[in-house]
Amino acid sequence: MTPETVRLDEPIHRTVSAHGQTTVHENELLRHPVYTRVVHWSYAIFFVLALLSGLAIYSPWLYRWLTPLFGGGPMTRLLHPWFSLAFVLIFALQLLNWSALMAWTSNDRRWLKRLKEYVTNEEPLEPEYVGFFNAGQKLYFWAIVGSCVLFLVTGIPIWFPATFGRAVVAISYVLHDVAALVMLAGFIVHIYEGTAQQPGTFQAMTRGTVEKRWAWTHHPAWYRAVTGRDPRADYEATVKRQANG
């Protein structure tokens, strides 16, 4: 991160952080600070608004029942670009906030090779090299960044068709659709992973904390980094304690 980008989101960071705190209970770790949570849910709200208004335009014969939510078809069309712009701009804060954590490493390549084992729950504990984010989370993050760029580059001509002309609009709208489909698929998986699939994950983005158990199970390298302890040893100690009742 360059000094300029730090300065750009620093005032917002300071303001938001000043208005909140996180309670870390016993056997818990701080996962996402107040600023991260506020930014996440801010763009999440605008994403859902953009998604619902966008679906109504994407496929009216399936989703025209969504347009009354936004005051009818014309208002849906009018609001969609504003929802989307808000989403992209707020997500840019998360990009600044997370870009270092999201950096791709050789461990992420190793992780992807065992994607099948991950999906089929074959190993209850993640490999020791998995840090704050795993490769799947990083892929989703960078897919959003890429889609945001595509959304912006194609969305502005669709927003102002008179300025950009017939051919540009006709091409832009296809790329806009493709970006939307990628985002929607990722979004569905994201919600599943963050709720039902991994118990204990949702609270990371609401209260900001996770159980230590959760940390050594899903992100052992991160656990080691923040506690200075061996994740596998702590896990085994807990198993032993449980067995002894």
Binding site: Y58, R64, R213, T238
Partner: protein, 297 residues
């Protein structure tokens, strides 16, 4: 616009056939425009403004006899005046009445995502239903003739209706009624096509226009407005009439097939996630609260 007795055969934003399709016996209508006998009197422009109650307005003068540079959201019918120098150095006007072509395969309707905002009647007229228009202007980019015009204050798009309100009552369009030379005619598509062919043959054989022909472009399935041109090989001379009008492929192949299939595949993520939970179960923090063991069932 009022539909009167007209039946809708195609509607924007819908995947199923419209209820009007095939219900009634209906002739396809057509407007015939013989540019070779047009004298540029603009009676049709006035008739259009009068019948549709459009406001009188200031226009733009750009050193031609043309009323304004192009049609507008409240000016649907415009004679394009093109000064043309023939090969022998003599001068001629190429005048063409510009308005919606009412394509059999309408690019505007294909592009439109709003349910029922653009309809095609069984008689071939393509009509905008402004109350359903959402103002996205995809129709503008879908039209090869640059016809739909956006009104930024009402956020709606407008164009020539081929006087669907008159035609629905058995009347001819206002422009036809006003034409003093008979260069405009209105009737069934077959009759007008035959008339146009006859006139083009006459021009070729007796009037010294060897390239005279009928403009009824097959790339949009033919149009319900056809021209007789002195030179069918160069329609562009007549104020930019495209020789091969095309609907962008993104509004045909993508919209018809890739779009619904893409959405279906994407939404499959939801049942996949659900059945993943049902078959594989959650990934709990280890060790779980209640110790368990995996059984192969």
């Amino acid at each position: 616009m009022p539909t009167g007795t007209l039946q809708i055969k195609l509607s924007s934003g819908q995947m199923v056939p419209s209820p009007g399709r095939g219900v009634q016996r209906e002739e396809e209508v057509c407007k015939y425009i013989d540019v070779t006998t047009c004298i540029g009197c603009k009676a049709c422009e006035v008739a259009c403004v009068e019948w549709n109650d459009m406001p009188f307005q200031q226009t733009t003068f750009d050193n031609t006899y043309q009323t304004m540079p192009s049609t507008a959201w409240n000016y649907w019918n415009l004679i394009k005046f093109n000064e043309h120098t023939r090969e022998d150095g003599t001068f001629t006007w190429l005048m063409r009445k510009d308005q919606c072509m009412h394509c059999e395969d309408p690019g505007c309707l294909r592009a439109c995502p709003a349910d029922g905002a653009i309809v095609q009647y069984t008689n071939g007229i393509v009509d905008f239903q402004q109350e359903n228009c959402i103002g996205c202007q995809y129709c503008v980019s879908g039209c090869p003739f640059d016809i739909p015009k956006f009104n930024s204050s009402t956020k709606k798009v407008y164009k020539c209706t081929l006087c669907s309100d008159r035609v629905g009552q058995g009347l001819e369009p206002a422009c036809i009624k006003s034409c003093p030379t008979g260069c405009l005619k209105f009737g069934t598509k077959n009759d007008m096509r035959a008339l146009a062919e006859t006139r083009a043959r006459q021009l070729r054989e007796h009037s010294g226009f060897p390239n005279a022909g009928v403009y009824d472009p097959p790339s949009v399935g033919g149009t319900h407005v056809i021209y007789v041109l002195h030179d069918i090989t160069k329609p562009e001379l007549y104020g930019g009439l495209p020789s091969n009008p095309q609907i962008p492929v993104t509004y045909t192949a993508w919209k018809r097939f890739a779009k619904p299939i893409g959405l279906l595949l994407t939404l499959l993520a939801a049942p996949v996630a659900f059945f993943h939970y049902v078959t594989e179960g959650p990934k709990e923090p280890q060790p779980p609260d209640r110790p368990g063991r995996n059984v192969p069932q």
